[in-house]
Amino acid sequence: MRRSWFPALLTAVVIAFLFAPLVVLVTNSFNASRFGGEWEGFTWNWYEKLWAADEVWESVWVTLKIALSASLASMALGTLAAYALHRFRSWLQSVHSVLITLPLVMPDILMGMSLLALFILSGIETGLLTIWIAHVTFCLSFVTMVVLGRLQDFDFTLIDAARDLGATRKQAVIKVLLPLLLPGVLAGGLLAFTLSIDDYVITFFVSGPGTTTLPLRVASMMKTSRSLPVINALSTLLIASTFLLAALSFRLQRRA
């Protein structure tokens, strides 16, 4: 049967649409022109300026600290949550499941706004800790979903087999379940890491003085046209690292 060419063409157009702005960014980061309207020659100038911008690297450090700790915490919480959701069928898990799903569809502005309300009303000063709490909260659901998918593919007769061969319940979990679940947990953690680095809206609400994450820094740089080309350079580096992380998680998923 002849296949219609229309979906294929449209897919190509959509993918081009998705990449077009990114390509413009990357190109402009090497463009000597300040506004990037026309190509005025190749330059490393913006990368040199970026290298010298200490406040950007300070923000990178803040962002990495938060992303790493938030993804570790959400990996632990999310793995437990996924196990509970998969293992038990009860009213408790129905409630649990709704609670895990809701943050996935909650608009960022509501989550940021409501967490800010909580911190103000309970007198917690906004800062690193509040950003970390917010990030764990929105990463948790994503990690849970990834690990849950992995658990649904897990063949639980393997646990029976381990016990049949003399492993205690604990040994079966350590020797069989965890090693097989690990790629899923890592993939979930990687997703959490990416989401945490990416977040602007929620972080904007719950950040305090001295806790400028990278997206917050980018937002403030956008207000001064002098630093716009530097943002291009920074964006290019970020897009490249996203590529790397995506490739890594792709590998992890496939090795399973």
Binding site: D155, T157, L158, D160, A161, A162, R163, D164, L165, G166, A167, T168, R169, Q171, K175, V176, P179, L180
Partner: protein, 368 residues
């Protein structure tokens, strides 16, 4: 109790469903024994109770005189070959087989020796370093068997061991399993829904239905003298006729009145009272078809009928013959049709006959 594995009045319910209902079985040492039945008959639940994955609600399970009913699976002298093998995908073939020995903390040398010997026994030594995903179905199965046997279990449980294999491989593995059983001499318990598998693998078979054991016997006895119509239909094909015993004759024969079929003479196979309602069973291959009426001198039951349908199977041909209200299936080997070399075409008038010794009276309670 002379059994090596003893199932003593074991019952198990899931909610309102009685999965295993007061089952008693005794299996001898070194015996190859099958639990046979349709899905949902309780055979898998019984197997899981022997392995320790389920606890019986009541009753006991003993191995070599020791009550193991309340031991967790890891402490039982029983190992299982799982239906889909349940090989650990993150471990190599060698590590899969070593798993049990490592769990019981055997010394390194003993583990190496045991695993290598097992790999040799199942002829997989050159695949020791592979992952399960790189093996064929038959190889996976052999790893699963080696992984269980290396622990020297007193009873080996095999859950539908051939179900995941294709037809050719299945016949090959059937022979291999029999050879293996002879070599290791362990008690093998098969669980299967395939009567052919059960008959060729085991010394004795327990046919299960709705949580109960219907009959325990050797393969031949089950086929030739089934004690219920369930066993008769589950193992092989059968024609049934419901009738009333009318007249006892010498040497244990009885004449049975069947509506539209006159009163055939059959071997009564136990006490049958007069005027008792009962069920007759005749296997399709025990029936003869002839164009002419068989000589009436012999004690043969013969009835005139019409061929309704014919299906050719190569090694044999099946006929559906209509006799009044009854439809009878007859299975003939080409040479057995004694109609002068021609096979009766559809619509032909034929005589259907069977010898009284080839018919069976099956249990009356399921005559309904």
């Amino acid at each position: 109790m002379g059994g090596f594995l003893v199932i003593d009045h074991v019952s198990k319910s899931f909610g309102s469903l009685r999965a295993v209902d007061d089952v008693c079985l005794e299996v001898g040492p070194g015996e190859a024994f099958s639990l046979l039945g349709p899905s949902g008959c309780g055979k898998t639940t019984l197997l899981r109770m022997i392995a320790g994955f389920e606890r019986p609600d009541s009753g006991r399970i003993l191995v070599a005189g020791q009550d193991i009913s309340h031991l967790p699976p890891e402490q039982r002298p029983v190992n299982t070959v799982f239906q889909n093998y349940a090989l650990f995908p993150h471990l190599s073939v060698w590590e899969n087989i070593a798993f049990g020995l490592r769990m019981s903390g055997r010394p390194r040398d003993e583990i190496r020796g045991g695993v290598d010997r097992m790999l040799e026994l199942v002829r997989l030594s050159e695949h020791a370093k592979k992952r399960p995903a790189q093996l064929s179905g038959g190889q996976k199965q052999r790893v699963a068997i080696a992984r269980a046997l290396v622990n020297r279990p007193q009873v080996l449980l095999l859950d539908e061991p051939l179900a995941a294999l294709d037809l050719k491989l299945r016949q090959h593995m059937l022979m291999e399993l029999n050879t293996l059983h002879e070599q290791v001499g362990t008690t093998f318990i098969y669980v299967t829904h395939d009567q052919g598998e059960a008959m060729s693998l085991s010394d004795r078979i327990a046919v299960m239905n709705a949580g109960k054991v219907e009959q325990v016997d050797g393969p031949e006895a089950l086929y030739e003298t089934p004690r219920s119509s369930f066993v008769a239909t589950f193992i092989g094909d059968a024609n049934f006729f419901t009738g009333t015993a009318v007249e006892h004759q010498h040497e244990g024969y009885v004449r049975v009145m069947v509506d539209g079929l006159g009163s055939p003479l059959v071997l009564s196979n136990g006490a049958v009272g007069s005027n008792q309602t009962l069920k007759l069973m005749v296997r399709p291959e025990k029936i003869s078809l002839t164009l002419n009426r068989p000589p009436s001198g012999e004690r043969v039951n013969a009835f005139p009928g019409t061929v309704e349908d014919i299906a050719y199977f190569g090694s044999h041909t099946r006929y559906r013959v209509r006799i009044g209200e009854h439809r009878v299936i007859a299975q003939l080997q080409r040479s057995r049709f004694s109609g002068g070399g021609i096979e009766p075409p559809r619509g032909a008038d034929v005589w259907m006959s069977f010898h009284p010794d080839e018919a069976r009276v099956v249990r009356l309670e399921d005559a309904a």
